[in-house]
């Protein structure tokens, strides 16, 4: 119910993995039909906005664009208050939080409050900790994530491919820890295996040394 994701604020992997896990959990719980229309609360404190940026409407998954409510809190205390109020609200699908660093307000007691609220009301909380040390917390699952080199796209091998992450589950209550390489293909989260190699050949042949015009003349 309450998960923490540790990420660097110089990449958007934390928020991206939180979104992917949230969508995955909603789809798995079979409540997608009923929860589809529900809003998603995204809480950021000021440091997280300054260092990691705000969510961009056109970059969000298409089904989330019209049901996102964003809360810009000034202090970590306000952000924690907003997270707790969000967890108490029955009309939300899930709550995503982003808090930068290790503020004093986010103590073990505060995280315990969040866990209890999430469990009592049955709403998932995904808390992204930007540039934070993994201190004491009562989160049920704790992830560490960083960006991975993306697979080469089929049509333009020189371009960045779809989002891929190295995700490490380093503490979980009901699951052994592990490491995965995850990618978010077409809105579904799945592990990338070694056999899942990119296309064996490039469909776009490089024109080395000769331009198309020269080739036509020859």
């Amino acid at each position: 119910m309450h998960s923490e994701i540790f990420a660097s604020c110089e990449e958007a992997s934390g928020a991206a993995l939180a979104l992917a896990l949230a969508r995955d959990a909603l789809a798995l719980s079979g409540e997608e039909g009923t929860k589809q229309g529900r809003h998603v609360l995204w809480v950021q404190d000021r440091a997280a906005i300054r260092r990691g940026g705000r969510p961009c409407l056109q970059g969000l998954p298409a089904d989330l664009r019209h049901r996102l409510i964003h809360v810009a809190a000034n202090t970590p205390e306000d952000a924690l208050f907003a997270l707790e109020e969000g967890l108490k609200c029955r009309d939300l699908a899930c709550v995503i939080g982003e808090i930068a660093g290790n503020p004093r307000a986010l103590s073990f007691a505060a995280s315990r409050r969040l866990s209890l609220a999430a469990e009592r009301h049955g709403i998932a909380l995904w808390l992204v900790r930007l540039d934070a040390a993994p201190d004491l917390s009562s989160a049920r699952m704790r992830w560490r994530v960083r960006a991975a080199v993306s697979p080469r796209p089929r049509w333009n091998p020189a371009a960045p491919g779809r989002a891929t992450w190295h995700a490490e589950l380093f503490r979980a209550r009901a699951h052994p820890p592990g490491k995965w390489m995850l990618d978010d293909a077409d809105g579904t989260l799945r592990p990338v295996s070694a056999a899942d190699a990119p296309d064996p050949r490039d469909l776009a042949r490089p024109t080395v040394g000769r331009s198309l015009a020269a080739r036509a003349r020859a």
């Binding site: 991206a16 609360l41 969000g86 029955r90 960006a147 960045p160």
Partner: protein, 466 residues
């Protein structure tokens, strides 16, 4: 004449800025206040009020006494007034503007002798119609009244009226047609007026025998007020969107606490909870003697059937209540939702608005314009190494670390919005890049090296991809 010129001529000139909206609001209040003389009143902007006193004059001791009362009441307020009384609104307007003050037109007497000397401007006509009439030689109402069908020679009058009607035959608006206005003035044609109706705001208050100085008593009174307010709103079938709590202290100080709600509500508990956080800084002083709760903005809210079974099992708050609680503590600007705006510039293509405001219509987004997941409020400047000034970036420094660019896609060129920006604004070439650790960024080069709009182009990092 300019104000500066006027001040040179007369240095002791007093200047006040014009405030048409404020004047209209004041006139509206005046019209409501003027309903003391009759059951309804109408505005006559910019400076008039029409009151219907039909059958009400005897309450003031006759029509003369009524007009005296009107002028006395206005004089007590420090306002100069020209009042007149007539059977039709048009005649009353004409007398008030162009006759001696206090003129009364009695219903059964012939109106024309009294009105014949008034200028045609008394008909409330447009400027250009007045010009036409002046050129025709018609300056007084009496001259126009020759065509009204009341005179001695019906044959001649009918012909003259016909000529005038033909001249103004295309004009259907009363202000452009003198015949229509004349008939309205004489009461032959009805003239509908738009009355001013007072809509009292739902308001409840408690006057306290003993001034209260303690918080728990204040909470108790606020709870009573909220319950009264819920009843008042229920009777009107409305829900509150904005609530104002006024606290009158013994020493005459008034404290006002105002909350705005995201959706119309009629829940006493919700109101109390929102006010509870706003009452922490109330200084009671020697005590609070009057507490008033007013809903200055309410919206229709249908009565709903309380569901006895599901109320117990559905715990938690509704989304509107959650947004209200957040907005009261964090400020209304903090709780928003992103909306698309009509612009190509990425920071302008997205706006933030209140969560329950209706979404503005927008054109669909093009799926091949890939946008990052996170966007910085201000693009961060980066130092870029490149092979050629308009080529791909090869290495860049951001936040103190040097990153190699391994993969690039671009440029996506976004031209400046010439209808909004200065002509020296530079275009942007956006690149999606990935560094050797797999981090994906969205960077742009502002301008071209040879576009003549500044020196070498600068590079910025604007967003982070998932």
């Amino acid at each position: 004449m300019l104000l500066a010129d006027a001040r040179v001529l007369c240095p002791q000139l007093a200047v006040a800025p014009s405030d048409p909206a404020g004047d209209l609001a004041a006139l509206e209040k005046l019209a409501l206040w003027a309903q003391r003389w009759g059951p309804w009143s109408a505005l006559d902007p910019p400076d008039g009020v029409l009151v219907d006193v039909t059958g009400a004059a005897h309450l003031f001791g006759g029509e003369d006494a009524l007009l005296t009362d009107v002028s006395c009441s206005f004089a007590r307020q420090g306002l100069t007034v020209r009042a007149a009384l007539a059977p039709t609104a048009g005649a009353a307007w004409a007398l008030a503007h162009f006759a001696p003050a206090g003129t009364i037109l009695v219903p059964d007497e012939d109106p024309l002798p009294l009105l014949a000397d008034l200028p045609v401007a008394a008909l409330r006509l447009d400027e250009d119609v007045l010009t036409v009439l002046r050129r025709l030689g018609i300056k007084r109402l009496g001259e126009l009244a020759g065509v009204s069908g009341i005179g001695d020679d019906p044959q001649h009058e009918a012909a003259a009226r016909d000529a005038l009607r033909r001249r103004f035959r295309g004009r259907h608006s009363p202000a452009a047609n003198p015949l229509l206005r004349l008939d309205q003035l004489l009461g032959k044609v009805p003239e509908p007026l738009l009355p001013v109706l007072a809509r009292p705001q739902p308001m409840v208050q408690r006057r306290l025998l003993e001034p209260i100085r303690h918080r728990n008593l204040l909470d108790r009174v606020v709870r009573d007020l909220a319950e009264d307010m819920v009843r008042a709103l229920e009777a009107r079938g409305e829900g509150a969107r904005r609530l104002e709590l006024g606290l009158w202290r013994v020493d005459g100080e008034v404290l006002v606490r105002r909350i705005e709600l995201a959706a119309a509500t009629r829940e006493a508990d919700h109101m109390i909870r929102l006010f509870a956080t706003r009452l922490d800084d109330v200084e009671a002083g020697f005590g609070i003697e009057v507490i008033q709760l007013r809903s200055s903005w309410s919206e229709p809210l249908a009565l709903s059937q309380a569901d006895l079974d599901s109320a117990a099992e559905r715990h938690g708050t509704s989304l509107a209540a959650c947004v209200d609680r957040l907005a009261v503590r964090l400020g209304t600007r903090a709780v928003t939702r992103p909306v698309a705006r009509a612009s190509h510039i990425p920071e302008r293509a997205q706006g933030w608005q209140a969560p329950f405001d209706p979404l503005p219509p927008v054109q669909g987004m093009l799926p091949f314009n890939v946008r990052p997941l996170k966007l910085f409020d201000r693009p961060e400047p980066i130092a870029v190494l490149y092979a050629s000034p308009d080529g791909y970036p090869q290495r860049f420094r951001w936040r103190g670390a040097v990153r190699d660019v391994v993969r690039v896609e671009g440029p996506e060129r976004i031209a400046p919005e010439w209808w909004r920006e200065r002509s020296t604004a530079r275009l942007r070439d956006y690149y999606r890049i990935e560094d050797e650790t797999g981090r994906r960024y969205w960077i742009y080069r502002q301008g071209l090296a040879d576009d003549g709009r500044g020196g070498m182009p600068e590079w910025f990092l604007q967003g982070l991809f998932a």
